[in-house]
Symmetry: C2
Subunit: 339 residues, 2 copies
């Protein structure tokens, strides 16, 4: 393969992490930061580790800050988008004018969004609507923690899109011996799983918080919650236009497992399980710059479920917990244990 | 419901734990210990916690030691068997003469065994062959850690057998608000999942051991291993005569999750992941009285897979690791990451 020019939009944890496989695979790599990424960019420019991953930037990666968006995109063969879900549409809108038609856009951002009419949709169609014609969206899923991708530890990613040749091309560009990529044609399934796993990782996190508070494990409830989560993720993926089998693979069960092991959604759930009011936990994490993607996703997933007449007891329980239900353990137990 | 007489055979962790729901549900409960259970019986008789669960025995439970087997079984309406897999057939053989025909036998012991001709089979048919005619076997699965069942924390169990009325009767006898029971007609699926999850929890444990050794998470590899484990458990359940959907529920994915969170199989895997030779880790755990059920199950599952022509890369990798393969991380990565 001749080297490609890979531009990564977003210099947060996952954006900077993706520079590791992109550079290791022999590409010319540019990492562009949003107006919110000045601090990590300054650290990386100074040769210090990224504040979120604790890992040094891969060698040879060009750094650009917010005003350099169009320069970052000039001549890009592949554009990866890894900004937070609340900023992604704005960044894509700004980027669109500088994209060469046909350039694939690799979407690392996860979550749901709303269409102009207010109904809930997955991010790829909302992103695609902002792009020039002929720029295909390829979604990234699978159990990939940014710090591990950055450090080059073994990781399985899933790239999904409508055109198998485009998906395979993106995989060839970015895959390395450590960062392995499975290709999928089920874009809605991968996206739905990626968005909903954050919601359900909160539930598993609550169980771990109960254990931390009481000094005794609540593993049985955690495991029953995990199982119910996968069952509900299967149903949500189907109403989003995806396939159940996708949820049963790396992009669903695998991503839920890794998200339940660590990360902000688990941390948030654990704080709630330890007895902190959800609003306080969320505010404290927001003050520390930590977005908990599963919280808005829980609301949007409930909208999606209601629109399709799905009865998803664990999703409803998570939303009640977010609303301040006084006994999170009882909410989860009622939702996930056999009746 | 009128109270039943419930006899539990085996006073190890799970046997003594099951006394909690059995007594809470209002039954007359007897707990019988094998010739290996003298120490926990002595602790329980002295009013101290069980040495394995750390939990006091439920009030009113009668304790009997090895010579009292037939007295323990006299008039029993339900017999639960919770001795280790290497002793279960011998205990059942001794118990058979004292069982009233028609008494259901609830099998908590998990694993594979060998038929007289040497081929591998699940435990229930091997146990049934030792029983008087008309004593149905009901298998227990699901994410149930003994210490949590003993303490009365929320737990989902799965009872599986061929006769729905018998399974439902066992569930009615033992279920409590904390110990919830789902009924299943898929005995081979539940049993196959229960036996194989121990094997795969070793793999997940190796990843956690790699993390402990290096001080950096290997969650991505753990999650990919978990996902591949469920995929292989589905295939093993089918060749054992069970259903894939059973593996995707509490008895499969749920039990794998809880077994990957804690327990001897995870602990053994973590020791290997930290660099201890498997034979040394196994010997050290055996010296501490800790059976690692997943180790013999890995060999027997490989036999079963080979007989049915299944190619299961993670099962093969676990067996190579048990054989002392020098780089467990590389074995797992080759087996579970996309190629």
């Amino acid at each position: 393969m001749s080297p490609a020019t890979v531009t990564i939009l977003g210099a947060g944890a996952m954006g900077s992490a993706l520079a590791t496989p992109a550079a290791t695979a022999g590409n010319r790599v540019r990492l562009w930061g949003t107006w919110l990424d000045d601090e990590p960019l300054a650290e990386l420019r100074a040769g210090r580790p990224h504040p979120r991953t604790g890992v040094l930037l891969a060698a040879g990666v060009g750094l650009l800050d917010a005003p350099g968006l169009h320069a970052a995109l000039d001549g890009a063969d592949l554009v990866a988008v890894a900004v937070s879900s609340d900023g992604v549409l704005e960044v894509v809108r700004h980027a669109a004018a500088a994209l060469t038609p046909g350039t694939p856009l690799l979407l690392c951002t996860k979550g749901f969004g709303r269409r102009p009419d207010g109904t809930v949709d997955l991010l790829p169609p909302l992103v695609a609507a902002e792009l020039p014609a002929g720029c295909p969206v390829v979604a990234v899923g699978g159990p990939c923690k940014a710090n591990e991708v950055a450090a080059g530890r073994p990781t399985a990613a899933v790239f999904a899109g409508d055109d198998p040749a485009v998906v395979a091309g993106c995989a060839r560009t970015l895959a390395t011996p450590a960062y392995r990529v499975a290709c999928s044609g089920d874009l809605p399934g991968v996206e739905a799983a990626a968005a909903t796993k954050n919601v359900y990782a909160i539930a598993v996190g609550v169980c771990h918080g109960l254990a931390e508070a009481g000094g005794e494990p609540w593993h049985d409830l955690a495991a029953a919650s995990f199982t119910q989560a996968v069952a509900e993720m299967r149903r949500l993926a189907v109403v989003a236009g995806g396939r159940e089998e996708t949820v049963l693979g790396l992009a669903g069960m695998g991503d839920l497992e890794v998200t339940s092991l660590s990360g902000r959604n688990r941390v948030f759930g654990a704080r709630v399980g330890r007895g902190e009011p959800p609003a306080d936990a969320l505010a404290a994490m927001a003050a520390a710059g930590q977005t908990v993607e599963g919280v808005p996703a829980a609301r949007l997933a409930a909208d999606l479920a209601a629109r399709h007449g799905l009865d998803l007891p664990l999703l409803a329980a998570v939303n009640r917990v977010l609303d301040g239900a006084p006994d999170p353990a009882a909410e989860l137990a009622a939702a996930v244990l056999p009746s």
